[in-house]
């Protein structure tokens, strides 16, 4: 396992989440929590990828971890759960794949497309990865709160 890579991804995942926390106008005292959830998400995802999981599987595990930690610790932190959930998982949103998928589709419509078969397959693959990764993140975040809801109703 490449520890340096994990630390690198954790640090920059946290930094990206903090930057977006400012863009989302989060309170100053919550920005650090954004960084921690973003770092946690990227750490889990990187470990998952290094264990040979797919990007979607690793993103699901990371979102589940973030959702669980935030659900358990939200009262102590003093900020609503979905805010930290979303901020923490923003660095995992596959914007690069989305952009490259659309650019690939544009390239297919050129008068003389270069390697159209390969471009089509790559673009469709990127598009599917975007859809499945977003689905994995949303599902991973939703599970802890749904479980909490069920447990609260049983009480």
């Amino acid at each position: 396992m490449d520890l340096v890579r994990i630390l690198h991804q954790t640090f920059f995942g946290g930094l990206a989440a903090m930057g977006f926390g400012v863009l989302f106008n989060m309170h100053r005292r919550h920005i650090l929590w954004c960084g921690l959830t973003g770092g946690l998400a990227l750490a889990v995802r990187t470990v998952g990828l290094q264990l040979g999981w797919s990007l979607e599987g690793a993103s699901f595990a990371a979102a589940l971890a973030v959702g669980s930690v935030v659900t358990v610790g939200q009262e102590r932190i003093g900020v609503s759960r979905n805010i930290l959930d979303v901020a923490g998982c923003i660095p995992m949103v596959p914007g690069l794949f989305a952009t490259k998928a659309i650019l690939g589709f544009f390239a297919l419509t050129a008068p003389v497309p270069v390697n159209p078969d390969e471009t089509l397959i790559t673009s469709v693959e990127f598009f599917l990865r975007v859809a499945f990764t977003i689905g994995a993140i949303g599902t991973g975040l939703a599970i802890p709160s749904l479980l909490l809801h069920v447990m609260a109703r049983k009480k």
């Binding site: 930057g19 919550h30 990227l42 914007g95 659309i102 977003i134």
Partner: protein, 262 residues
């Protein structure tokens, strides 16, 4: 303990419905999911004395039916552009909880809401620009952009955010803004990355436009579908898809301008 509904003696159903929807409108515009909007509108309406509340959350409008006893009315109102403003969203939710706890009157709740909208602070524009630049440069590192391209991505994204802020303030169409900012940021990032000797110019160009990827609406779209609001969820997803297409057009133009177009 206060008499139940004593706080609505002077309030008409009309005022109650419109104020409840004002809470919903602000929450929507602050980036809340439909489930949150419905929960808090229900709570504030019931806190102000409504016996029954039914809310329809649409992408561009809200419709509410409130009733007390045998009387009831239905009202609708427009929702503005959906952005993200967590501080205001949090403050509005806290006001709902306060109204419930202290049984604030309708007039007092209305005044407090107006104060929150007016006084909730925002970061200075330049701070947001730098933060977004740093976020995109960090995204770049996550996507294996080399160190030579780190500062170019930072500068291009910060400038792109600055331009986006100014264009949106002038009420330029959000899709046009996406293309203009994507072109500017990707072109500048690619140009500077190339000058600095980067070997990852292509990734640097895309990293600089990740500020435009609508992550919150994208996750909200899924939450809404899963939460039983498929119409709103689909509307959000279509909006996100359209933004991504306009974004990609901007990057494509940037690649052509740099001679990297396919």
């Amino acid at each position: 303990m206060a008499e139940p509904f004593a706080n609505i003696e002077a309030a008409s159903l009309e005022d109650l419905a419109m104020l409840s929807m004002e809470f919903g409108r602000i929450l929507m515009e602050c980036g809340a999911s439909a489930k949150i909007v419905e929960e808090y509108v229900n709570r504030i309406a019931k806190g102000l004395g409504a016996g029954r509340v039914d809310l329809r959350v649409g992408y561009a409008s809200l419709a509410i039916t409130v009733g007390i006893g045998h009387a009831g009315i239905t009202r609708m109102r427009k929702v503005g552009d959906l952005g993200v403003n967590q501080q205001l969203g949090q403050a509005v939710r806290a006001l709902v909880r306060r109204q419930e706890a202290e049984q604030l009157s309708l007039a007092a709740t209305q005044a407090e809401l107006a104060r929150l909208v007016k006084e909730t602070p925002r970061y200075p524009g330049w701070v947001v620009d730098l933060a977004v630049g740093l976020a995109c440069a960090s995204f770049g590192r996550l996507l294996d952009v080399d160190w030579q391209a780190f500062l170019p991505v930072f500068g291009a994204a910060a400038l792109g955010q600055c331009v986006r802020r100014h264009l949106l303030r002038r009420q330029v169409n959000v899709f046009i803004v996406a293309t203009v900012v994507a072109f500017l940021a990707s072109f500048l990032s690619g140009l500077l990355a190339r000058w600095s000797g980067s070997l990852t110019v292509d990734q640097a160009m895309v990293s600089a436009v990740l500020l435009l990827v609508p992550g919150v609406p994208l996750l909200n779209a899924q939450y809404d579908v899963m939460g039983g609001y498929p119409t709103l969820g689909n509307a959000r997803a279509v909006w996100v898809g359209t933004i991504l297409i306009f974004l990609a057009v901007g990057v494509w133009l940037g690649q052509i301008a740099l001679g990297e177009g396919r």
